[in-house]
Symmetry: C2
Subunit: 463 residues, 2 copies
């Protein structure tokens, strides 16, 4: 649609949501909580970077289903995968994968997901959501911790076995996972205990007494605040060490996002993450990197933590969203529990979604979309820098340089700005308190930068 790129006014012809969306939202809300619906989508008409609603409005989509559409709507490679005999079988003959895997499960993993396994990782456990992936990683960490403590090959005691069924120690130990302030790791009871971004997610839900440390609050532009930011990161690392050594419930693992996304697109330097790796190694604590939002190329590298140049890899890396499936990678065979059936469930992911994931990977590799995202990200960042220079009170703390298209900025009245952008044909998201976050797909191209940045400027002037 290059010809339409500069002609936003023809894209959205109704208020947003439009009358048909409104009618459908009202109907849906009677049977399904539809209060957070932005608009109702005509996915048949949506294509590539563009989403079309039921009122016929068309938007450049740089929110991408909360950062989860990898290679565009109605992508032909994905459609071919969806029509394949393997997909039909995976859909209609859904296996209990841990008991009765399909003949092609091994190939699906080794010729699929394991092609892009993080450095140092050669095993995985599949799941269905980012929340589940994180919780499975926590469980692996807890079992690993107790295995080390118990001693290799030492059998479970009767007291451990019996107490575990009563949810009491020692069978059900008071261990913890350390996370960071403003983090988001999901909404299960374990993952939510590590999520610290917003009360709306957590309030009224019982949680574990687990520790959290401050995540560095960097000052921008980075080049003018090097010293203060270094001190900030060191303070955070000191707090992590303090918590690891003093928290009453021993810390089995630390979980961290390469970029805190839901919590406000907060970044830290490679030095910070290197420090975290050193600290966790020093204290025998596992490091879990939550790549649910950053994995699969969005940062201009396949994995967000590829930017860190770690001397030893993270112990586990979780993924979901753009992968269209979920799970965690690991390298150490001891992260596989001591007995079968301990890390287990009926389906252990969904082979149908793994097949789709493999098509996503094919498309990423074939079209060099990670490299493209790195390049387009540079251009996008440069264009936004100009907007920030022009309207410093409306675009400040611009961040994400060198992080692909994972770019964000703070503003005033983010909700109003984003609403205006929608009416001008750009679907874009918010996070944190007053932050606009860009989450275009990996197929976002340089020629779309003017449409996006031009619309932002128009919205700034109009609000």
């Amino acid at each position: 649609m290059p010809s339409a790129i500069t002609d936003e006014t023809t894209w959205v012809t109704t208020e947003v949501p439009g009358p048909l969306s409104k009618q459908k939202i009202a109907a849906l809300n009677k049977v399904f909580d539809a209060r957070a619906v932005h608009f109702v989508v005509d996915y048949e008409k949506s294509h590539d970077n563009y989403i079309v609603d039921v009122d016929g409005n068309k938007y450049l989509d740089v929110y991408s289903q909360i950062a989860s559409i990898p290679v565009g709507y109605n992508n032909p490679t994905l459609i071919a995968a969806a029509k394949s005999p393997e997909m039909i079988s995976a859909l209609v003959n859904r296996p209990a994968t841990g008991n009765f895997p399909s003949e092609n499960w091994f190939a699906l993993l080794t010729e699929g997901l394991l092609r892009v396994a993080p450095k140092g990782h050669n095993q995985l456990f599949t799941a269905q959501s980012g929340s589940e992936a994180n919780e499975l990683a926590y469980k692996a960490a807890f079992m690993y911790y107790q295995r080390q403590k118990r001693g290799e090959g030492v059998e479970w005691s009767d007291h451990e076995i019996e107490s575990s069924l009563h949810n009491t120690t020692p069978g059900s130990p008071d261990l913890s996972i350390l996370s960071f302030k403003n983090s988001f790791h999901g909404r299960g009871f374990g993952s939510l205990s590590t999520t610290r971004s917003k009360a709306v997610h957590k309030l009224d839900i019982p949680s574990f007494d687990w520790p959290h440390a401050a995540f560095p609050a960097l000052k921008y532009p980075l080049e003018d605040n090097a010293e203060a930011n270094k001190a900030e990161e060191e303070a955070s690392l000191r707090e992590v060490e303090e918590l690891i050594t003093t928290w009453p419930n021993p810390v089995a693992a630390v979980i961290v996002e390469p970029i805190q996304s839901e919590g406000g697109d907060n970044h830290a330097s490679p030095a910070f993450f290197q420090g975290l790796r050193s600290l966790t190694k020093k204290h025998g604590v596992l490091l879990i990197v939550d790549e649910v939002q950053t994995g699969f190329g969005a940062t201009g590298k396949f994995w967000g933590h590829d930017h860190w140049n770690l001397s030893t890899p993270p112990d586990m890396v979780t993924f979901s969203k753009k992968a269209q499936t979920a799970g965690y990678f690991f390298g150490d065979a001891k992260l596989c529990p001591d007995k079968a059936y301990r890390q287990f469930n009926t389906w252990i992911g969904d082979a149908a979604r793994v097949l789709l994931c493999n098509a996503v990977i094919d498309e990423i590799l074939k079209r060099n979309l990670v490299e493209q995202t790195a390049q387009v990200g540079e251009q996008l960042y440069a264009a936004l820098e100009q907007v920030a220079a022009k309207y410093p009170d409306r675009v400040h703390n611009l961040r994400g340089k060198g992080q692909g298209t994972c770019i964000a900025f703070d503003t005033i009245n983010a909700a109003g700005l984003v609403k205006k952008m929608k009416s001008l044909g750009v679907n874009i998201g918010v996070c944190g308190k007053e932050t606009v976050r860009l989450r275009p797909m990996l197929i976002f191209e340089a020629e779309l930068v003017p449409k996006l940045v031009g619309t932002l400027e128009k919205a700034i002037l109009a609000t």
Copy 2:
């Protein structure tokens, strides 16, 4: 395959697992925990009630992927759904359903899942697994509890908001869910805290300090033990009431399976469940019925709790497995939280799996499979009664009369018996300590009863 029914010896020609399965398990185990694999499956060759492994062995499958295959392998109605344009779109354009639902989402629910909503339920929240469905129901219960306590329309206090981010009271309250001994409700940190079946699932994993009551341990045959069983159920109900009124962490909900499945196929009478409904009503505690294994017709009624004749419906009903998707149904609008985004996640289920679920429902209704399951269950139970009479030491505590094909019995060396049955061409599962559980599909027909029961008898004689 009627001609082959009595000719088991031609079905399995290798040891189980066979050489090819073994080879594939060993390869898979290097990248994926394959220690619980029974055999590797050729799903292309599997059909209807029959599963075929990569060594060419064919089994009558009455385990059905841990009770999760509803209407047979390669079911034509499901294949048609898998090939539909709606499915292709749901696969390749996976929406963040809470923000950008597809045009057909409302119809998918109202013309699909809501057709079979439990009595008194007219709303639902979709999920991806039974574990997740149960945890979402717990979260709904906790938010409901706090909403009642806070008072309708009362805003959250700053102290509540702030403390929730620190995982401390009052924002993160010490509330609990009551479950039963030997129950299985899943493996997330919340659902696992209510699971009490086996240490292998729970050991080393931190859990919440939640209460559990004894589930009635009925004596069989029921007709000879009416008085003792009544006393047993009353004792359990007394314990439930005692726990609700004295447990330090207030009980927001009770969760119960219509038949405790993983925990040993333990049944209770309608009177017990009626008592549970009365008790929970009396104390303002919600009742969640976990129909993950019993829902979708397996008990000879669409929902297991349809057998109970409750005066008021359960507050929430969770489902998964045979539904091929998951979620919870509810009736009271207040189980929808006070604000948007509280019960939320990126995908909120998977429309592709909901489409498949709707095809399952079509098939169940069109072929009257619930009624068929009720009838075949009667015949199957009668045939097993004869085996039990013949070999009382090998088949005892036969149970599940009138509960469709959810039939089970205790034996000695269940693992050995089941292994022998596999070698004779029947894939069958175990649960609890020494229990064989039958979980045929809904298409299990009367003509298959002799094959199943005959094989059992042969296996008894051979072990």
